[in-house]
């Protein structure tokens, strides 16, 4: 399988002269689940925004398989339009692409069903809990059937119970749909639980410091979360994160 995303020597310097990122060399193969793990402000979100085309790199090249039109993005906040129903929020990417109405309906209903919100299609965002809003955001990212799913600390603001449930739902989605997922997080535990590859980044300017492959029995479930194997991986990645931050 080829690379879904390929970054070569990518840097990002802000107008004030602060170097936020890089140089970063980073490839993600198709169908992989990769976490970018690092402390707050290390530029991992910036890297994700560059991949999405929301921000331009100062130098370096980014290649996206299929030209980058096929990207779904889940923001840190649910980022829903408060004036639109759940159905209209999820339909937005298709509406912006001028897809016919019947076609939109045919995609929105399954996307909502997939995240378990079929009955809430007519609800407004303010009527939903934080976890449900995040599910709507996920459904919106999936509705265009993108090849690559970019997620920017999507569950950071949720309580632990909701976060664990969404972690499992996300894994199930990934198993069913086999999309390439790049997941930004600052949680060691989340990155080990979810991803097949954990990329540890240094503090600003963010560079890749270490990579860990999480090879375990699939599918992962709550048993994995409480296993000795999981604890060992977490210890290993945790140590790598400390080294990346310059602490022994």
């Amino acid at each position: 399988m080829g690379d879904a995303v390929s970054m070569k020597g990518v840097t990002k310097r802000y107008d004030g002269g602060v170097v936020a990122l890089g140089p970063l060399d980073f490839d993600v193969s198709k169908g992989d689940f990769v976490s970018l793990l690092g402390p707050s402000g290390c530029g991992k979100s910036t890297a994700l925004r560059i991949i999405a085309g929301l921000s331009a790199p100062t130098s370096g090249t980014v290649r996206i398989a299929g030209g980058g039109r096929s990207i779904g993005f889940v923001f840190q906040e649910p980022t829903l339009m408060p004036w639109a129903s759940v159905r209209d929020n999820v339909a937005l990417p298709l509406k912006l692409a001028h897809r016919p109405r019947a076609d939109i309906k045919g995609h929105v209903e399954p996307a909502l069903a997939r995240v378990g919100l079929a009955e809430f299609a007519a609800a407004y965002p303010r009527e939903l809990s934080g976890g449900m809003k995040m599910r709507v955001s996920l459904a919106r990212a999936l509705v265009t059937d993108p090849d690559i799913l970019l997620m920017d600390e999507p569950f950071a603001a949720l309580d632990e119970i909701t976060r664990f449930r969404l972690n499992n739902d996300l894994l199930a989605l990934w198993r069913d749909l086999r999309k390439t997922v790049i997941f930004v997080t600052h949680s060691v535990f989340e990155s080990v639980y979810l991803s097949r590859r954990v990329v540890v980044m240094t503090p600003r300017p963010g560079r890749i410091s270490a990579e860990h492959c999480i090879d375990t029995v699939e599918p992962r479930d709550e048993d994995f979360r409480t296993s000795a194997e999981y604890a060992a991986y977490c210890r290993e990645v945790s140590a790598a994160l400390s080294r990346a931050a310059g602490r022994p």
Partner: protein
Amino acid sequence: MTVSASSSPAGSEASERDRRAPVARVLLPVAVLGAGVLAWHFVVRIYAIPPYVLPGPMLVAATLVQDWPILWQSLLTTLLTTAEGFAAAAVGGIVLALLFNQSKWLEHALLPYAIILQVTPVIAIAPLLLIYLPQQTAVVVCAWIVAFFPVLSNTTLGLNSVDRNLEGMFRLYGASRLQALRYLKLPAALPYILGGLRIAGGLSLIGAVVAEIAAGSAGAGSGLAYRIAESGYRLNIPRMFAALLLLSVAGIVIYMGLAAVSHLMLRRWHESALRKEN
């Protein structure tokens, strides 16, 4: 009653207060109004104040009924002017704000003049407008001048307070400028626009009245404000009061109407229209 209230937990006490609040909100102002009218009545009666100085409430009410055909015609004239000025202000303010939002050049070129128009007292502009424009047009233009600025500035504020992440999402999905305007900026600005319109409603009535008074001294016109000026010259004080009462009621109705429209349009999603307990 007092004992049971003080011994009950704080929560139920608060809910009881909530339940009583609407009653108090309606009854208290009505009681104040009643007391004021009574005091007015007795002051006029006891001191035997002549009606050309201060007419009593009964006389004002009688004048309202007796002069109703004239006053009703005048009210319609004033309301028509107000409505025209308001419509022009709403359309002008929103369209100008949209143009400013699309082109910074246009904003830099025109905004100072919008502000100058706003800060110059309309009572001073009205006589000039009456020289250059047909009377009815001049009156509507006055109402427009007073009312359009709140719409312009509120709409501008609304268009500029769009959520940055939502904006990024629209860019990610390749939204055109028109799509971003229609599906993102206008809905996001709607609460602000409605707030501006609510202010503009009352202001266009003020603008219409000011212009009518200015025009009235020039001889023509038949709006309510003109009736007030005319009754003043003729020392017909009861009719002055009756016309003033009608103007107040018109202002209240305009405000309540616009507030209701705003509530209906925002009730599903905006914080301002949500009930506290939800």
